[in-house]
């Protein structure tokens, strides 16, 4: 059934998701939302893997997706830890406020 969905269509969806996530990263100021948007991007990539795997009827794509999930989880856990420290230090979740270093 999945194989009936053309590769390009799946990819288009993944691409759309990816761009959505990317826009989220760029426009949201709340650090949590930025992390969320990154999740969206990563999942978009995962989706692309799945679509690609299905094109070649290989499990590799799905294996990769699992890796991505794992990695995203790890990343988010470290990320959240950092967010806590961030809030502790800056008393805000606004990513733009963490901008002391520049130039």
């Amino acid at each position: 059934m999945i194989s009936q969905i053309p590769f390009e269509h799946g990819l288009l969806l993944a691409g759309a998701l990816f761009v959505l996530g990317l826009i989220g990263v760029m426009v949201r100021r709340n650090i949590i939302f930025i992390l969320l948007s990154i999740e969206v991007m990563l999942n978009a990539a995962g989706l692309a893997f799945v679509v690609a795997g299905s094109r070649w009827s290989q499990p590799d794509g799905q294996v990769m997706f699992i890796f991505i999930l794992t990695m995203a989880a790890a990343e988010v856990s470290v990320g959240l830890a950092l967010v806590i420290r961030l809030y502790h230090v800056f008393k805000t979740l606004d990513a733009d406020c963490a901008g002391k270093m520049r130039g």
Binding site: F7, L11, A14, G15, F18, G21, L22, V25, I31, I34, L35, I38, M41, L42, A44, A45, G46, A48, F49, V51, A52, G53, R55, W56, Q58, D60, G61, V63, M64, F67, I68, M71, A74, E75, V78, G79, A81, L82, V83, R85, L86, V89, F90, A95, A98, G99, K100, M101, R102, G103
Partner: protein, 474 residues
């Protein structure tokens, strides 16, 4: 995969096991000295076991341990060893529990080593993530304001760039049906391939890798992270993480013959030129040493890409030699910064170095040697490195790039000289330069690095010979 296949992986496993041992050790007995020694021992053992790996060993389709990989792993291990030595004194008194630092250090070393040995996008991805995730924590390790800011920035941007990379890999995989480097080239030449999709995939991979390498236009995070991270970690980010990624990039684009895609070549050339200019111009009047070194590393990666773009036998030799020189120099420079840093903040303002020659002549000389090496002045390894890069460029007749490199070297010289002048000026009033005594290990490391630097600058033949042998079997 058999047990026999595991034998070549011993170096990697030694690292992994060391980290586990330390983790377990911490559970029972917290000791900085113990963890530190274990780390050093682990790295040293891993380094020694490298010599036990005979011939080219492909371990599944994921990893290969050929001379090339071994050389780079050795380089990465050596750099980690130096960072570990530098950080032990640095961390003292900055945070109560510092043992975990070593675990993270070992893990990211492992990640980088995996990158150097990977022949498959999966191992690439895994290595990269092992490296990155540990780095997030390392960067924010001492938990002051700047650390946190740097950590958050690095996390967000690295994750986003990972997404780019993954999407690119997915596209490549989708088009070629394989994630193995060696098979990918045959997949590419297959019929009915969507060239646009493929090239987009390459571009996205380049984006992800470019971020890790901190080349323009993906370089913006570099100065902030370099400035915010603790000085030894900065050294680590500048060397180990880049070394592994560059090793991979080189391997990948040699196996997938990059010169078959003029547009890809063009993109890399653009990145190279942009990096050189952005790095050097941004550093020009910068007043923070760490930021200067960050910008300078952007430029240096640009130079490196010039050699990378060159074809022929010289490419790998030039890139590798330059990387070695760059490792030594960067470690040395950040080593000096580490040594001089006080407890409150790192010694990263140019004023902190004013008149260093007066009260710490040796340190000043070592720092000047490092800066001269970055500038490519004779008697230092950087000179031979730059010579090699220009040679590689000239050998492939990349004259435009060579000219750009020449111009940028001159721009770069300006800010290196600016720092050097400060070193020898009349002493100013900075509390940082008045640090009481220098830790012994750090001093020894710096002396060693300087000796290496000069040795490679005067008599580079052994290293060249070694790299050459490695390339022969590549």
């Amino acid at each position: 995969m058999t047990l026999n296949d595991l034998a070549p992986l011993i170096p990697l496993m030694v690292i992994a096991v060391s980290s586990v041992i330390i983790m377990l050790g911490i559970a029972f007995y917290r000791s900085r000295a113990f963890s530190g020694l274990l780390t050093l021992a682990g790295i040293a053992v891993a380094f020694i076991t490298l010599f036990g790996v005979q011939g080219t060993r492909q371990v599944t389709s994921l990893l290969i341990l050929d001379d090339y990989a071994l050389f780079y792993i050795g380089l990465i291990l050596a750099a980690s060893f130096v960072v570990a030595l530098l950080s032990s004194d640095y961390l003292e008194g900055r945070r109560e529990n510092i043992e975990e630092f070593y675990i993270l250090l070992l893990l990211s070393t492992l990640g980088s080593s995996v990158l150097a040995a990977s022949t498959h996008f999966v191992s690439f991805f895994i290595g990269l993530e092992i490296l990155s995730v540990s780095l997030y924590a390392l960067i924010a390790y001492t938990r002051n304001e700047l650390n946190i800011e740097a950590g958050v920035k690095y996390l967000v941007l690295a994750a986003a760039s990972s997404a780019f990379l993954l999407f690119g890999i997915a596209l490549l995989y989708g088009e070629t049906g394989t994630m193995e480097f060696s098979r990918m080239s045959s997949g590419i030449s297959a019929q009915g391939i969507n060239k646009g999709m493929l090239l987009t995939g390459f571009a996205l991979v380049l984006t992800g890798v470019g971020f890790k390498l901190a080349v323009a236009p993906f370089h913006m995070w570099t100065p902030d992270v370099y400035e915010g991270a603790p000085a030894p970690v900065t050294a680590f980010v500048a060397t180990v993480s880049k070394g592994g990624v560059f090793a991979l990039l080189l391997r990948y684009f040699i196996q997938v013959d990059m010169h078959a895609y003029p547009s890809l070549f063009g993109a890399v050339a653009f990145i190279a030129v942009a990096s050189m200019f952005a790095g050097n111009l941004l550093a020009l009047l910068q007043k923070n040493i760490k930021r200067i070194l960050a910008y300078s590393s952007i430029a240096h990666l640009g130079y490196l890409l010039v050699a990378f773009l060159a074809g022929g036998v010289m490419r790998v030799t030039a890139v590798t030699f330059y990387l070695v020189a760059y490792f030594i120099t960067t470690l040395g420079a950040f080593g000096v910064v580490t040594m001089l840093s006080g407890k409150e903040r790192d010694a990263d303002a140019v004023e902190d170095y004013q008149g260093l020659f007066r009260h710490r002549p040796w340190l000043a000389l070592i720092f000047s040697a490092m800066l001269f090496s970055l500038a490519g002045i004779p008697l230092t390894a950087g000179f031979i490195g730059k010579f090699y890069i220009v040679a590689a460029g000239a050998g492939s007749a990349l004259w435009l790039l060579v000219i750009m490199l020449v111009i940028n070297s001159a721009i770069g010289l300006y800010y290196y000289l600016r720092i050097i002048v400060v070193l020898y000026a009349q002493p100013g009033h900075s509390e940082v330069s008045a640090v009481s005594s220098l830790p012994l290990t750090g001093s020894l490391v710096l002396v060693l690095l300087t000796v290496l630097l000069l040795w490679l600058g005067v008599y580079p033949e052994p290293l060249i010979e070694m790299i050459h042998r490695m390339t022969m079997r590549f």
